[in-house]
Symmetry: C2
Subunit: 342 residues, 2 copies
DNA sequence: TTGAATTATGTTAGCGCAAACATATTTGTT
DNA sequence: AACAAATATGTTTGCGCTAACATAATTCAA
């Protein structure tokens, strides 16, 4: 037995049942302070609404109000603990303010990112939270969004001075700190497994790396920049390539993030190198896996949950305030020393 | 300088610009096979649409078509790797079919779950994927959803015979297998850290545990069922409580999931017990942390990504097929032996 | 050449709701 | 009693779009 799917109950149906106008139903179910409605009528309406199983149609409401109570959240991946943690933060604030999250995963592919953004615009989300994909090509779509007046807040991976607020971490300082730590430990020949040039995180972390070198009188050696990416496999492949070239091994490697560091460790171990005896390696992000003794990665903690909180707070403020200024917030990182640098 | 937020461009604006009717614009931008439109007109329209920065309004479309191309995904948590992995699977299928995901996190709270489901109904999502929260109270809302004709598919934590399809893992067999493994290793006094009674996963895993005992001629001892939950802290608290009661320590503990097992390990270690020397412990789920040597948890692998794939496939089939039958799918688990059971 | 088919466009209505503007009905005030 | 204010409800319109049904312009066969 299959029951024919019932059509959704509308205000008109409730009105018809009671022989009143649809507008009265609307007023009863969505009381505005300035509206008048008699308690008896309201009660009747609520009872019938309940009896018929009325569920308000947010689509229709959105069309009228030009407001959807949805925000688009675009992330590159869910594979490591970082973005799920950010999303938890976003969800906290969004839920408190009755916004729903539309989740898009780009898998680091700019094509997917562009498609997601287009769709979110068409869905008339009230705002967008975006962490760029690793393969960004250009910023024209970002500009279009910003210019259209749709609030956009970058998080983690951002573009400054585009008119969108940015929430991230103090990447440069974090990288500088961890490099200084390595140098203090006596390391001089330090390589950097870097992320894609187009991204703020990559550049800032690299900047911190260079600054630490400079401050400590170590000459920057371009050949020690190993181009990589954010995924474990990026680190693995890049390290493998580097080792194949037969260059002299560095004393330390500063990776652009944990996943990449873990990949690099795998490549190094495959070649029989021991960490931290033969060389030390550090990451960035404090992935949930970093603390385990098989990896035990010295890294820089980035407050993922707080980034989510802050980014969504700024977004929602932007949504509900007429002319809110763009603001950039960079949360503090902290050094987490573990055994990969003994 | 702050530019006034431009109103969104509509088809009517394009039509006005060209002195044609809005309907012609609609036809040009959303070609239906049966429609006629001259190539020149279409070209003009596309050009103007582009010039004005037209973005189709899916809200309006949804209202007309009674179809939103959204699916609601309700999960209890994002803290462990399991649900993010499921979501990756869901996202894969959803994206392929041009559906967007509306993500709701309940934090194991039934109140949040009910609110999320209500909202999703109001948003007129085309279907819902749900993993119940740990604190389910009753099924009336599920029934209401199903009766309303809104496709609902349970995943991971499900309720059979409610009219909704269910996608899960072979929990009973998995639990049985891991218990048999322990028994084969000579363990006889085996405790079970169990999940909430209201949930399928809990019951099935407990059923598998009991079956293994029975098949091996071990009498079931009710006092060895330790009521717990799915979160790390649940396992920690329950274990602590159990230890405080001063009962004789079991030789092995079968936990309802990895997080709970990890929590229990913490409690045990705090009391100076050594794993696996003093007692062995096993989990369920194969969380991304389970493989690390600090934990090294023998567990049952549950194919999270595949559950996401299967559940969303079934949901979308249900959405697009008139009278699709409910179907229940239980994916195979596999034993993962690590050092927590030496 | 004529009218039927084909092609190209226009008009109207309605999806479900709420803003804006009526119109009743009741209450309170003097 | 008379009128304004307060209260309660109704009507119309439009959000942006598409389905359904016109109508106009063109093509083509006989």
């Amino acid at each position: 037995m299959t029951t024919a799917p019932k059509k959704n109950v509308t205000m008109q149906m409730i009105a018809d049942e009671l022989g009143i106008s649809q507008m009265t139903v609307s007023r009863a179910l969505n009381p505005k302070s300035k509206d008048y409605i008699s308690p008896e009528t309201r009660e009747k309406i609520v009872r019938v609404a309940d009896k018929l199983g009325y569920t308000p149609n947010l689509i229709a409401k959105s069309l009228v109000n030009n407001k959807t109570y949805t925000i688009g959240v675009v992330v590159p991946d869910l594979s490591y603990s970082f973005y799920p943690d950010v999303i938890k933060g976003i969800n906290k604030i969004a839920t408190d303010q009755d916004y729903q999250i539309i989740l898009c995963i780009t898998y680091e592919d700019f094509k997917n990112e562009e498609k997601a953004l287009q769709t979110l615009m068409s869905m008339r989300v009230d705002g967008i939270l975006l962490a760029q994909s690793q393969s960004v090509k250009d910023f024209s779509l970002y500009k279009k969004i910003i210019q259209s007046g749709l609030p956009l807040v970058f998080f983690d991976r951002y573009v400054l001075n585009l008119g969108a607020s940015c929430v991230g971490s103090q990447d440069e300082q974090g990288a500088e700190e961890i490099c200084n730590y390595l140098i203090k430990k006596g390391k001089k020949r330090i390589a950097h497994l870097s992320g894609p040039d187009a991204l703020s995180v990559s550049l800032n972390r690299q900047k911190g790396y260079k600054k630490a070198l400079k401050d400590n009188g170590i000459r920057f050696d371009k050949s020690l920049i190993i181009p990589s990416g954010f995924r474990e496999d990026d680190g693995y492949q890049s390290m493998k390539q580097f080792l194949k070239e037969g260059k002299k091994l560095p004393e330390a490697i500063v990776s652009v993030n944990d996943a990449s560091a873990i990949g690099a460790m795998t490549a190094l171990k495959e070649q029989g190198y021991k960490i931290p005896e033969d060389l030390v390696i550090v990451g960035f992000s404090d992935d949930s896996r970093a603390k385990f003794s098989d990896i035990n990665l010295t890294t820089v903690n980035v407050p993922a949950y707080e980034i989510g909180i802050k980014a969504s707070e700024i977004l929602i403020k932007k949504i509900s305030t007429e002319n809110s200024e763009t603001e950039n917030v960079f949360l503090e990182t902290s050094l987490v020393i573990r055994n990969s640098t003994f």
